[in-house]
Symmetry: C2
Subunit: 116 residues, 2 copies
Amino acid sequence: MALKVRKNRSPKPPGPCPLTECMAVIGGAWTANIIWNLSGGPRRFGELRIDIPAVSPKVLTTRLRELERKGVVNRKVKPTSPPSVEYSLTGLGAELIPAIEAIVAVGHKLKHRHDC
Amino acid sequence: MALKVRKNRSPKPPGPCPLTECMAVIGGAWTANIIWNLSGGPRRFGELRIDIPAVSPKVLTTRLRELERKGVVNRKVKPTSPPSVEYSLTGLGAELIPAIEAIVAVGHKLKHRHDC
DNA sequence: TTTTCCGGTTACCGCAAGGAAACCATATAG
DNA sequence: CTATATGGTTTCCTTGCGGTAACCGGAAAA
């Protein structure tokens, strides 16, 4: 009575899983929200804090630094006074938008179904 | 010297954020992988363990139960012997596929860029 | 009788992610 | 002189997520 594994599995590419890899980028707390809020154009630190009121400055800094290191967002310091810092999506960051949009779309459907 | 918040923010719907809501569904460890592996058709517990070797039975059970409760997957027990349990995506679960696919697509791009 | 297989369950544990609150440096406005 | 705005940093602490490992119950195969 051997285990018969059916072959209708979805395609499994070799090497590190692209799904896991992408989730590692957008999976952190508030990460997707941050990217989503940057999709409308550059935004300053304080503006992001207003856009996402629940995020603490510590976490916001952490996420922005991570995303910068991964090449998803760009950090530009403007030598005004007091200096203001503008964050924007890089080309790579822009490529994440369709995925985020798809997630948002599902979120709407979930709300619709849930609706209790 | 008042704070001038620019208005180029992305649209913010009232109420609970759809983005956060959807991420709560697909955000758990291995969750997206599980849904992805079910997108090719129904799959048994043991098959999923083979598809995703790194997932422990405990976590796999937890995730499947969560997804079942949220109406994303369907659990069907077949009274064979030993009994086999088949998991499949519900209609709601199927709606998640485009988002997952978008994430997978970005994962490929990430690998391409990274490529080290 | 013992083993194998399926689909789990249970107990235990470590650690890192994340929340809260306080603090900081600089420069201009009033 | 003091207040305010900006963009953080630092410290502390809790929670819970997820990993490991062992165990389980029924049935059939050997």
